[in-house]
């Protein structure tokens, strides 16, 4: 497959090589078709694109800056540029996707957004977009996550969203996804399922990547202005489901930049997963020898997901992107180091990407003098309580 065909329209089957597809009950198939058609229509409509761009600009704070991390760069002997999704409204890149999907849901005449959430970031973003457009929002969240992320639950409540505790399975994100799907089956006429990452049945992985593409496209232009070579040597992003990475990579897949996705050691579907089907799509999935899906474990709640977007599986297989893992320990150290050298509190999720860059620069795996563009997917205020001991 030519480079150019990578990260383009996966067609009506929603396949990225062996991955993707639409593994959902028959009851949901018409809804998936309808959403695909609506998205194709909207995406080709300059009016919709304008409204989306305006909302992202005037409301969500785009474009986000590309910040040179000067002091950390000096320490590492590289040039590190940070794409600042932490400055986007609600504090992460999640808003790019939900604004897009909420506008689509409105266009489709839906009155309610359904969403799953783990740490609560996507839930907050969904509640936000729903409030902005006057839609209702119902957010499914594992009971254990509700306990761990009380503040985000409260944020959603203040925003007027209903948060439904999920008490099945491991009572975390993957069960919230199941429950959201189940609820969607039962309310597909008036509800729109606002998926939080490049996962789920076609057209979601593609559509979410397209809504997140703005990260990569902005960064590409900003790198052009900032770097003598115009293009960085490395483009790095963390990978939970993989939406910030997909949106970032989409801006650079046609360049010479090396693409690196960084997962949590305890949630490394791209590295330790096997091909499987979960939540409506075929991809790499963490599972035991019998095919039961394993719970992911990471200090970053947003990376506690046992799957990975199907397009990432495809990028990995073809070698266009590589995927690495870092440990919780490295992540906390990276977070604190960035805070102290640049005054930026990155989310634990984003700190995975950073931890990899630090390690790679310090071991020489990323050569001295290299230029690195890193997507800082969100802010770390939500994570402060989780950092028990300062390294």
């Amino acid at each position: 497959m030519s480079e150019h065909a990578l990260m383009s329209d996966p067609g009506t089957t929603g396949r990225f090589g062996d991955y993707g597809g639409r593994y959902v009950p028959e009851s949901l198939i018409p809804a998936c078709h309808e959403i695909e058609a609506a998205f194709r229509d909207a995406w080709a409509d300059p009016g919709f694109r304008d409204r989306l761009t305006t909302t992202l600009t005037v409301y969500a704070g785009r474009p986000t800056p590309l910040t040179p991390a000067r002091r950390l760069s000096r320490e590492l002997g590289i040039t590190l540029l940070l794409k600042r999704e932490d400055l986007a409204h609600t504090g992460s890149h999640k808003i790019n996707n939900v604004v897009g999907q909420a506008l689509l849901a409105e266009r489709m005449g839906r009155r309610r957004l359904l969403a799953e959430t783990g740490a609560g970031q996507h839930g907050v973003a969904t509640a936000t977009a729903a409030a902005l457009l006057g839609l209702e929002a119902t957010v499914f969240m594992g009971e254990r996550d509700i306990e761990r992320q009380e503040l985000n639950v409260r944020r959603m409540n203040v925003l007027g969203a209903e948060v439904v505790p999920v008490t099945t399975g491991s009572r975390t994100l993957k069960d919230a996804c199941n429950e959201a799907m189940r609820h969607w089956v039962a309310s597909v006429d008036d509800s729109y399922y606002c998926v939080g990452s490049v996962m789920g049945p076609h057209p979601y992985p593609w559509m979410v990547r397209e809504f997140q593409r703005v990260i990569g496209e902005e960064a590409r232009v900003q790198c052009g202005a900032e770097l003598p070579a115009g293009v960085p040597d490395y483009v790095v992003a963390c990978v939970g489901g993989g939406s910030n990475a997909a949106g970032t990579f989409a801006g650079f897949v046609g360049t010479t930049a090396r693409l690196v996705g960084v997962e949590a050691e305890g949630g490394a579907a791209a590295t330790s997963g096997r091909a499987g089907v979960l939540h409506g799509y075929r991809s790499l999935v963490l599972q035991d020898e019998h095919g039961q899906v394993r719970e992911a474990h990471s200090i970053a709640a947003g990376l506690d997901y046992p799957g990975i977007g199907p397009e990432h599986a495809h990028l990995r297989d073809g070698g266009r992107a590589r995927y690495a893992t870092v440990t919780d320990d490295e992540v906390v150290r990276a977070l604190v180091r960035l805070a102290r050298t640049e005054g930026i509190l990155a989310a634990l999720e984003s700190s995975h990407a950073l931890a990899w860059v630090i390690r790679a620069a310090e071991t020489g795996a990323v050569a001295p003098g290299s230029t690195v563009m890193l997507t800082l997917s969100g802010r770390g205020d939500k994570d402060i309580a989780a950092i028990k001991e300062l390294p």
Binding site: G21, R22, E26, I29, T168, A186, V188, G276, Q292
Partner: protein, 285 residues
């Protein structure tokens, strides 16, 4: 005889079909439940292979799945127990794509066949994803049943009716498995539509919670699948004998149901000849 031939034969004998469900490995000696079902008059038994993330199942079957997995249930283990079981009606598997594709659809189907199962149903493999698996099932002489939903378009219903094997699984509602829910005109219409499209048995599933409801739904099709109502009882401690009695009560309701005024019998399609060449007994054990 294939699953489909078996069910058609029974149906054509004037019988409303009854297919009870059990989650494989839900308790030690769970195959006794299968036997009790058969003794109580089941026409086939659906055996669930528990999956950690059963997207289309409501709380009861989720709980049953969790309990079976926690108890060590695996595909291989369940198949081994089924292979040792000798019952007079066909058994078929219900599970999710991730278990089916662990190695490959072909490997999964071969294993089912080796253990004597006659078919399978995979709720998260709709028409668009079912191609490879359908070939593999056919190659092993297994019937891969497809699901039809109230939301399916006429064109899709036609395709489902045409590509489903064994029977067509018509879901009574937009929702997950689970008890409760009334009959809506849409359900009657779905049954009628499907029966107009195929001579294969059409079974209703989802919310077949008691004998009366079973009888009512059977009025719109060829029979019913009963799952959550049984699994609820099993989870609550009911043993095989009492479960069998409950299935028998449904059997009786189906056998003696009043002619349903809403149900105008449709002309039977001629049996389609397209798979006759595949018929033949499956090896056991």
């Amino acid at each position: 005889m294939t699953l489909e031939e078996f069910l058609i034969a029974r149906r054509d004998a004037g019988r409303s079909l009854l297919v009870p469900y059990v989650t494989g490995g839900i308790r030690p000696g769970w195959t006794d439940v299968v036997r009790a079902y058969v003794d109580a008059g089941a026409d086939a038994v659906e055996v669930g292979f528990p999956f950690s993330d059963p997207m289309l199942d409501g709380v009861t079957i989720q709980e049953a799945s969790d309990r079976a997995i926690a108890g060590g249930a695996t595909v291989a283990g369940i198949l081994a127990e089924l292979a040792a079981l000798d019952v007079a009606v066909p058994l078929f598997a219900m599970t999710y794509s991730n278990l089916v594709f662990q190695r490959s659809g072909a490997a999964f189907c071969a294993a089912l066949r080796a253990s004597g199962l006659r078919g399978l149903i995979v709720p998260d493999s709709p028409l668009e994803e079912v191609g490879e698996l359908a070939g593999a099932a056919a190659a092993e002489g297994l019937d891969l049943a497809l699901m039809a939903a109230p939301s399916s378009s006429p064109a899709r219903l036609r395709e489902i009716a045409g590509r489903s094997r064994g029977f067509v699984y018509a879901v009574t509602r937009m929702g997950t498995t689970g008890e409760g829910g009334g009959t809506s005109p849409a359900v009657a219409r779905l049954g009628r539509d499907l029966k107009g499209l195929t001579d294969r048995p059409v079974l209703f599933g989802f919310g077949v919670s008691d004998p009366a409801r079973a009888a009512e739904l059977a009025g719109h099709a060829d029979g019913v699948v009963v799952a959550s109502a049984l699994m609820r009882r099993l989870l609550d401690g009911t043993g095989p004998r009492e479960l069998g009695e409950y299935v028998a009560s449904i059997r009786r309701a189906l056998d003696h149901r009043e002619p349903d005024e809403q149900y105008a019998p449709l002309p039977r399609h001629r049996r389609r000849p397209d798979r006759q060449d595949q018929v033949g007994p499956l090896p056991r054990g």
